[in-house]
Structures are given as structure tokens and as C-alpha cells.
Symmetry: C2
Subunit: 492 residues, 2 copies
């Protein structure tokens, strides 16, 4: 795999000068066109030649207009980063449509070194590679142009540089470079494995020889130019909504919702006593979670007026303000629309010891966006896997994830709509849209069924909550969270 | 000061029910109107009654539409926060126009406790209070509605709660609450001092008694309602630009720029040798800075085509990519326009051990925005003090700050404009605007003079760089940074 990048390829100074004149104009023009485009560009720069990668980043910033490049250097994870799933920092830094970002730093190399030193085992390595591959796949599916470069030094050249640096003392090489050279023969096969495993299919890494800086920089720049201009010349994708009339959904004979016992109720005294006990327990548990640095994520979905707000208040009442954050999910902002739809949820993941409560969530993709035809079928079909990846990463960090669907029947819903309209300060909660949604009850029922069946995993199961009786629903949710948190604390 | 909040004020349940009906409708309506308004709302909730504050936050989120409130709880600073100036986290969380944010948590109280325990001395306390006061002043000047509440418990009530909690074990009170009660008699006078000192003039804290939760919550909510509706009823401020024709500036007889020796040059061999030596030194120093966790901030301002980009590249060439970030400052985005103008610069402050290089900066306020009349005079006049505060906080965190003005004469500028127009990949750098700016040379000269005179402080001096000769300029900048970094490392 690396052989082709060991040929001692060079470009003469004269040739370079001539090439560069056009190359720089093309790159700059492409950058300006990109700013109006509807896709982001992500360039990943890595390699065994670390000083080479650093030089390349500098050069690209010089040749292109540095004002429109965002360079992110990912080094050893910070404390904030260690408290979130591994890919959190990559998600947060993602370029929006029309933007170009460079990702560089240690990330793939770090993983390779960790594996070499036995700090992680093969399954862990494979898991990480799968996440990288899936992340790239998600971005591509979303329209991003992703280009990956690996700057490679042949053994001989590397050896020469190591020798020089020993003679002159220091220079551009540091301890990690020496480590890489010492492990070169074991490292390169592993690097090959990593590069192969992080190709999501038809999007391999470009391996570029680092022996001559001029060749390295110009080669990478030319690949960027051709990929970028090719992509810019394509007609923009048709607007998603237009291409996707809501699929006529046949309501399935039976759904998972049928099994929910909507007759479940609690008397007021039962409710009071149980709720108070559970709230006290929750308070104690969330304090312990704070001290133990265990965070948690709670997701609420449900029919309009099923009582999500009321349930959430019964949770937060019991907690210290510093221990939770409620994140209401409405229509995305312009900035959010210019990113992958999961981006805004990644940004909200809690730091150690905190609980984040989502009032509606990423499941909007397979609920409202599916039912209303806001995205093409291919997009929401894909979402089940993407969501699974996202939740798996949360679980891997030891963060308990609770998902509640508040279920009720249509009669109860209309009763509540009417009641809200009679309460002055609740009127604003009820809009025509609520009545429209109501008309699509059957389609939503199908979507909920699919969602629950396809995204109930061992690490992130759904809890279906009978919510015809608000008291019963609140107690059920409180109890589920208490039990889950206690389990997390025992294991953590 | 606290006496009025020790009267045992109460509201009966019936009275509350009646008040609430209207109060909640008003609050919700005001919230909806706010979303279209051109100012942000910041509500600060604090007090000796910590559980009371927590309960109040919950209640406000219940009474208002929680989806449009952002609650920020500031606890003990995180690692990321400790690497930046103290107010960094408050700046980052500021609401944009049309948004409402609640700031709560330990911050003022923390400072009081630190002072009580002797962890900080009086001058340090005063410095912090001055920063708080100035921050609020800046926000108000920028149009923000700021409301501050202190929830207070009379000694007797506090004592009763402490007793109850000892009997029942735990409850809502934790170790800090016990600490507060034990120090009550010393703490309250200090709290009074803090509250007085953080009034930027005519905007005192609202002290609300916490004895009865119902009274506390309704009182705070009513104050919010009246302040918010009053503010919303005011006509919007006239657009800044319209009200501010560029002031006719008389060029001063002599400016600080006259003293710059524009004839300074370096021969090519001199330049090569010195540059190489300085770059090697810079490389070594920035590595040491990374290891020592000392970050730095570099600001470049200067005439169009004075060579900022070239100088910046000579710095970054010498460094590891991970050790610096170049931040080019262009026209603000919509999001940035909806915040205080310093907000976007606060967001860019580096974490420990890194250098951030600003290609243009916050000085745009007193340069282009002043000269082009983009803001009223009162706004840019105010900016000198605001900038001073900002830079003082950077310096207090031990972060060296370098500010360079690249100076040249008009003849050299026009030569460079022409040269750029002849180089294909530099053409894009030259626009009609550059020629327009050139026409205002005299006005800019005055603005630069004022800027240098008014913002050269001991902790953040300006360096005026003769840049008619690019080589001389580059060496001068490299040397200044090396000397400053070395000094910072010795002291750090």
C-alpha cells in the first residue's frame, strides 16, 4: 500500500513555480465558489511524517486564503473531551455548508501507537476504526466532500532525518517521531490496516510521499483542486423536501404500542407518597452521580400533550440546578441546518456528573421528519444506523441513556387540547399544528413502532410509558431513572 | 441593606393563585415579544439562600416557556475555564439579541467565601468586583437588560433550617450551606459590600427574602415582568450607522506614527541569517511555552498591504501546527452581530500553552468602525476602556499579549497594490475597498494615533513596526515576540 509512496518522487523548482501559478489561482477561486455551495469540505491530514504534515498545513494555509480555512489540531484529549464520547470533538468542529476545515493532529496515529504498545486490544482498535469509518460515511451521506491524506516517509529517508536530528540536536523531530521510527517495521503494517479499515467504501486515503516537501505540498494541493472543482461543477442536489412526498404508510396490524396498558392509574395519595419517595431517591442518586462523575442522558418523545413537560419538571424539581440541563428541541436554526442533523445533539452531551434531558430529540428524524416528508426516505432509513452509532458511543463512555415514549390514546389527547385552550397561560402551547399532527395519528403510530423496534438496543432500550394517567406516567419515569442510575453507579 | 428582606413577607395561596394567572400570561407574552427584539436579557440569580435560588430557577422555568430560557449554572471552574481569564465563561454564555439567559451558581458567593477564608486579599476582591461591574456596564451600554437578584434568608429562618436539616439528615442543605450559616455574621456585611460594589450605577441588586418560597418566586417574577414589558414597550434604538455620520477628523499636527523610522531596512543576507536564528529561537520558546502551559495572544493591525500575512507566515512557519491558531477577523457574522462586539474575541482566547494570532482584531472598533462611521461616537469612545478591561484580564491570567501596528507610507502602499494586481493569485487580495480606505489615510492616521496613545498599557503595549521594508518588519516582529515570550517563561 505504501510502496507507491516510496519512489523518491520529486518536482523541480522550475516546474513547481509554473504549476503553482495556476494551482493557487484555481484553489482560491474554488474556495470562493465553495462559500456559496451547499456542502462542507473536510480535509484530513495525517501520517508517519509528522513534521511533514505540519509543514503541509502551513503551506495549504499560505496557498489558499487562510481566512476561509479552519484548521483543527487534535492532540491529547482535554479533560472536557475525556468526559464525552470519543468522537465528540470531531463532531463539534465539523464545518458547515460552504466551509472548509482541516483536521490534523494525532488522532489516527495515536490509536496506532496505543495498539502497538498494547494499551488497547484488537477489538477496541476495530471499534474505533468502525466509528471513524461510520462518521465519514455519515458525513458523505449528508453531502460532505471528505479528503484524507497520509504523508509517508520511506524507511531510508526517515533514518536519514533521525540521524541528522541526533547530530544537530532536536530540530523538527521530537520524542514521538523517534518512537515512530523505532517501531517503524511494526507500525507500517498496522497503519496499512488502519487506512484500509477506515475507507467507508470507494473513498480511500491518498498516500503521499513526504521525502520532498515541494512534491508533497503540490501533490496534495492538486488532489484538493481536482476534487473540489469537480464537486463544485456538479449541479446542486434537489431540495430534499421536494423530492420526498410523504410515503403512504399502511398502518401495521399491530404495533408495539398496542401492548401498552393505558388503563394503568394511580390514586392521588398513592402518587404523592411514591413520587416523594422517588424524588428523594433521585436527589440522592444524582448527588452521588455528580461526585462519581457519572453523567446521564434522558430523552423524551411522545404524543403532543402527553405530558412531557410535567414529567420533566417532576425530575428537575428533585435535583440541584447545577446537576441537570433541559434541552428543548425545536426547529433547527440556520446554523444547525448547515450541519449534519446529529451535530446539534452531539454539542449538548453533558460533562461528567451532569444529566441532560432532551425534550424531543434526534428521533425527530424518524418521526416528524419522516411522517411529514421533510427528508427523503433514504435519509430517515439511514438514520436508524446513525442513531445506533451515536448511542453506542454514549454508552461506551459509561453514560446511562434513558429513552421514554409517552403513550396515550386519541380521546385523552383531545381532552387535553381542550383543557389547554381553557387555561390562559397554557393557550400558547396549543397551535393548529397540533391538530394537524393529530390527523396523522396512524402514520405516527407506524413510525413509532419502527423506531422502537429498530433502536431498542441493549445499551439504550426504549421505555414505553402509559400516559393516559399523568400520575402513573410520572412515577413510572422517576422509577425507571432511579433504577438505571443506581445500576450505573454500582457498575461505574 | 438586607433589613427590608427580613420582614417575613408572605403571600397567601389564594392571592398567589390569582396573581399567577395573569403573571404567567404576561411573562409568556413578553418572552414571545422578546424573540423579535433587538436586545438580550440576562437574569442573575444568587444569594445566601442557595436552595432557594435553585428552587427559584426551577420555578421560573416552569412559569415561563422553558424552551426560550438558557440557564447557565457556574460552579467550580473547569480546567478549560481555568486556562482563560476569569470572565471567559460568562462572556461565552452571553445571550444574543432576543434571547433570555439565567446566570446562577456560585460565582459571587464563591468570591465572598474565598475572601472570608483569606484565600484572596482585599485588592484582589476589589479587582474582581470591578470586572463584574464593568462587564455589566458593557452589556448595558450595548443595550442588554440585566436584572440581578439576591435571595436572602434572615438569620432566624436560616437557623431553623439548619436545625431541621441536622435532625432529618441532609435534605436540601449541603456542606456549603452549613459553612454559610456558621459564617453568617461576617458574611452578610461582606455580601453587602459586594452587592454595592457591583452596581454599575443606577442598577442595584434586587434583594428578595427567601423565607417563603411563594413570596420569593412571585416577587422575582413580577420584577422580571415589569422590567421586561417596560423595556419591550420602548421604541427600538435607531440604527447605529444612520445616527453616526463619520466625524470630520482634523489630522493632528503630529502623531505617534511620525516617530517611526520608515527608512529602516535589512539586506537580504542579514535578513536570512537573523530570521533563521529568530525562528529557531521562537520554535524552542513556543515548545517550552506549551510544556509550561503558558499561552500568548498576538494582534496584528496595520495599513492595507502592509504585509500582515507575510509576517504571520514567518511566525507560524517556525511553529508546530498544534501550538498556534490564526484567527482572521472579517465582517462579523449574524450571530456575532447579535452579541456584544467583544464576544467573538473572547471566544477565541487560547487554552494553556497555545498562541492565538489575530489578523486584525477588536481594534477594528476604534479604527475602521470609527473612521467609516459604522458605530456612533459614543460606542467607539467607550471601546477604549472596554478594550483595556479585556486586555487586563488576559494579562492577569499571565498570558503575554503582543500588539503590532505595521506602518508604512502611502507611496509604498500604492506600489504594493499595483504589484498585487500583477500577480494572478494575489489579485483577489486587492479590491475597490482598498482604494477607498486609502482615500481616508488622514482619518485613519488620527484613529491610529488615538488608539496607540489610549491603549498602550504596561501589560499590553503597542509595538509600532516600520514596514516599508518587509524584511525589517518581519525580523522586528519575530524579535519582539521572542523577547516577550522568554520574559513570560522566566516569570511564569
Amino acid at each position: 500500500m505504501f510502496e507507491a509512496a516510496e519512489a523518491g518522487s520529486k518536482i523541480s523548482r522550475d516546474e513547481a513555480d509554473e504549476l503553482l501559478l495556476q494551482l493557487r489561482v484555481d484553489l482560491i477561486n474554488a474556495q470562493y465558489d465553495l462559500r456559496e455551495a451547499d456542502f462542507p469540505v473536510l480535509i484530513v491530514l495525517m501520517g508517519d511524517d509528522r513534521p511533514g504534515v505540519s509543514g503541509l498545513v502551513n503551506r495549504l494555509n499560505e496557498w489558499m486564503d487562510g481566512r476561509y480555512i479552519r484548521t483543527h489540531v487534535f492532540g491529547a484529549p482535554t479533560d472536557e473531551e475525556l468526559q464525552r464520547p470519543r468522537d465528540w470533538r470531531y463532531w463539534l468542529a465539523l464545518p458547515a455548508h460552504g466551509q472548509l476545515a482541516i483536521y490534523t493532529g494525532a488522532f489516527a496515529l495515536e490509536t496506532i501507537l496505543e495498539r502497538l504498545q498494547g494499551a488497547i486490544d484488537r477489538p477496541e482498535l476495530d471499534r474505533r476504526l468502525r466509528h471513524m469509518r461510520r462518521l465519514e460515511q455519515s458525513l458523505r451521506d449528508d453531502g460532505a466532500l471528505v479528503l484524507k491524506f497520509w504523508i509517508h516517509l520511506p524507511r531510508k529517508t526517515f533514518k536519514k532525518r533521525i540521524k541528522q536530528s541526533r547530530k544537530k540536536g532536536g530540530g523538527r523531530l521530537d520524542a514521538t517521531d523517534h518512537l515512530i521510527f523505532d517501531a517503524y517495521d511494526d507500525l507500517m503494517p498496522l497503519a496499512e490496516y488502519v487506512l484500509r479499515k477506515t475507507d467507508p467504501g470507494g473513498a480511500p486515503w491518498h498516500i503521499v510521499e513526504g521525502t520532498q516537501a515541494r512534491y508533497r505540498d503540490i501533490t496534495v494541493a492538486r488532489i484538493i483542486r481536482s476534487a473540489l472543482t469537480e464537486r463544485l461543477s456538479r449541479p446542486p442536489a434537489p431540495a430534499a423536501a421536494a423530492s420526498a412526498p410523504p410515503a403512504p404508510t399502511v398502518a401495521p396490524e399491530a404495533t408495539v404500542l398496542d401492548a401498552v396498558d393505558l388503563d394503568a392509574t394511580l390514586t392521588r395519595p398513592e402518587y404523592r407518597a411514591t413520587r416523594n419517595a422517588l424524588q428523594a431517591r433521585l436527589r440522592m442518586l444524582t448527588r452521588r452521580a455528580r461526585e462519581a462523575g457519572i453523567s446521564s442522558v434522558v430523552v423524551f418523545e411522545g404524543w403532543d400533550a402527553a405530558g412531557k413537560g410535567g414529567v420533566i419538571r417532576r425530575i428537575t424539581q428533585a435535583m440541584d440546578v447545577q446537576d441537570y440541563r433541559v434541552v428543548p428541541i425545536g426547529a433547527p436554526t440556520d446554523e444547525e441546518l448547515a450541519h449534519h442533523y446529529l451535530w446539534r445533539f452531539w454539542r449538548q452531551l453533558p460533562r461528567a456528573g451532569r444529566m441532560v434531558i432532551f425534550d424531543r430529540s434526534w428521533y425527530g428524524r424518524v418521526l416528524v421528519e419522516r411522517v411529514e416528508g421533510l427528508v427523503p426516505e433514504i435519509a430517515w432509513q439511514r438514520a436508524y444506523t446513525e442513531i445506533d452509532d451515536f448511542e453506542e458511543q454514549i454508552a461506551e463512555r459509561g453514560i446511562p441513556l434513558f429513552k421514554f415514549w409517552l403513550h396515550m390514546d386519541r380521546e385523552e389527547q383531545i381532552r387535553r387540547f381542550r383543557a389547554r385552550e381553557r387555561t390562559p397561560y397554557k393557550k400558547y402551547k396549543i397551535t393548529n399544528e397540533d391538530y394537524r399532527n393529530r390527523e396523522r395519528w396512524g402514520a405516527y403510530r407506524t413510525a413509532v413502532n419502527d423506531m422502537v423496534q429498530r433502536t431498542s438496543t441493549q445499551f439504550a432500550p426504549w421505555t414505553l410509558v402509559p400516559a393516559n394517567d399523568k400520575r402513573f406516567a410520572r412515577v413510572k419515569v422517576l422509577r425507571t431513572i432511579c433504577t438505571g442510575l443506581a445500576k450505573g453507579l454500582d457498575e461505574g
